[in-house]
Amino acid sequence: MPLLQISEPGETPEPHERQLAVGIDLGTTHSLVATVRSGSAECLPDAQGRVLLPSVVRYGPGGAVAVGHEALAMAADDPSNTIASVKRFMGRGVSDVAKYGALPYRFVDAPGMVGIETAAGLRSPVQVSADILRTLRARAEQSLGGELFGAVVTVPAYFDDSQRQATKDAARIAGLNVLRLLNEPTAAAIAYGLDNAAEGTFAIFDLGGGTFDLSILKLTRGVFEVLSTSGDSALGGDDFDQAIARHWRKAHGLADASGRDTRRLLAAAREVKERLSGAQSADAKVTFTWGQQLHLRLERREFEEITASLIQKTLVPTRKALRDAGLAATQVDGVVLVGGATRMPHLQRAVASFFQREPLVNLDPEQVVALGAATQANALAGNRAAGDDWLLLDVIPLSLGLETMGGLVEKVIPRNSTIPAARAQEFTTFKDGQTAMAVHVVQGERELVADCRSLARFELRGIPPMVAGAARIAVTFQVDADGLLSVSAREKTTGVSSSVVVKPSYGLTDDEVAAMLREGFDHAQADRDARALAEQRVEAEALIAAIGSALEQDGDLLSPEERASLSAGIASLEAAGKATDHRALKSAVESLNRASEAFAARRMDRSVSQALAGRRLDEVGSK
């Protein structure tokens, strides 16, 4: 007989019509599956009582596949066939994966996404993820005593279209019916029932094993909107283990140990770190491969000292996300902690003092995303009163813009704009008689085109010849609900137009997004200098061209000496234009401008007198 669960009053399902639905947190380091039973969301444990499944898959010879703890145990001995953190490769090409540095895998360039050559043959990241999902599905079906109706799978808020599609494909391969992909921070908010509030602004602080994500969510009438996301793709709980290991190495004068000894030391560090969340001091014994046994000990106070800088590091992206959302820390109505590393008391204190409010901690931070996904899966499967549904508005992860003169980026749609979005901006021609304009669409936060990612190029032709600056070209950026970008350019006087459709975020890794954001921050000063230089160069060129054409037209107004001195000024400005000091260039531009002032005044007099020739004063005055 099937085991029964308690239903809401009057909602006992018909026999054979129970809709079994689960929420799955498909994480970088570990994955979980949860469901709603007797009205409460809970994570489903495996036969050994463990709810966390390491996101590790090992492909053995002859096609043997091991997933989870079993695969993790083999990682050290068979690194090239044991795929860990596959989430980073989802929807990514070979060039994107190269940015992770040395990895033990044999990557194969495949169209659209990398492949990994294993002892069991070529595997795509989608297949590896599918193997993880299949394990969770089997666990869920055994736990619930039936076939699953569907699943809600969570993804990071900054996942782009191709990464979301890859996740969906993996679920399908694993035989799961995907009810919806849900953003991880939104799932965490749902787990705490924050969706039951009328409205509010929430910060989701997610410090995982190797990554840190901060998202600001806004809830309005049951709709969660991601106001901003920020993070550090190279900061996580593992860094705290490293800090402890470094501290012990120094304290005990240990040399840089071999791989195996380092792993033992890190395992001890991790154990001590976890115990320090509940105790004032903790100790561990480590036996090294050379036979030495060490008794290692750490006080909580020491731990907090040696990791204070890591705690501070989490606050940098936190400030950035708030700034992007246009909020002060005190305007946040609730802070949710996600990820095992947020159990550390000094981290909780730092978060509490930053936001000036106690963060929500009563749910297990490692389970909270899966619990929220389960709650939504339950609702989508029809096991909850109809009418409560969540709609999630997405944002553009990086600004979209186009290239202007001097290789500069003009941002048209700033990052974190909610989609669908449409913005138009007017541009003009730079040269007299210019009849075509190249439109180069780029994505990124930096000021120079060379530092951003190029998305598409197209040309607008058939602009009627006009003086520089007279043409009015409206460039419209439009991003639809699926994240597809289309760009069109239209010259307003003639109506000629041209357009292109691009996928805005395809091929951008999350790390790349994070790195580009970080770079934008780190290089702000260098970028401003580069921008100033490029602007001054454009200015200088325009001035030289203007004086050149004026000399051609009205050169007779100048004495040979005046003319020679102007030419010398042009030559020295041209020289300054080749250097890289934007301040020197600026003063050269200014001095040439001053040197040509008298000439400009004489030209002005001439054109005025020509215009007035043969007209009476009162005629002119009445204008």
Binding site: L3, L4, I6, T12, P15, H16, S38, G145
Partner: protein, 107 residues
């Protein structure tokens, strides 16, 4: 009245009611449905209905409508684990046969 909850069932019911945050107890019942005729009902109770039999078993307030009572007399509600699966199970002496899947029964 001879409908009882085992200790484990009572523990779980109390925990679920606490998590849910509201409700006066647990409603048990039987309804006509399914391939074999009858199916068990186990729901949170927010209010009592007219004619409900109400009693406490192992610290849990239980509500049963009079029609269901005839079928449930002598039943024990248990909470069991079968492999990874866990949930409530009715031990009902009135049950004569069940449909193959076990979701509905006959008396």
């Amino acid at each position: 009245m001879a409908v009882t909850l085992t200790d484990r069932a009572a523990d779980h019911v109390q925990r679920y009611i606490e998590k849910r945050g509201r409700g006066i107890g647990l409603r048990l019942g039987v309804r006509t449905t399914g391939c074999s005729g009858l199916a068990y009902k186990i729901e949170f109770a927010d209010e009592a209905q007219e004619g409900d039999l109400q009693f406490d078993s192992n610290g849990v307030h239980v509500l049963i409508d009079p029609k269901s009572l005839a079928y449930l007399d002598g039943t024990e509600l248990d909470f069991v684990r079968e492999g990874l699966n866990e949930g409530f199970k009715f031990h009902n002496p009135n049950e004569k046969d069940r449909c193959g899947c076990g979701e509905s029964f006959n008396v």
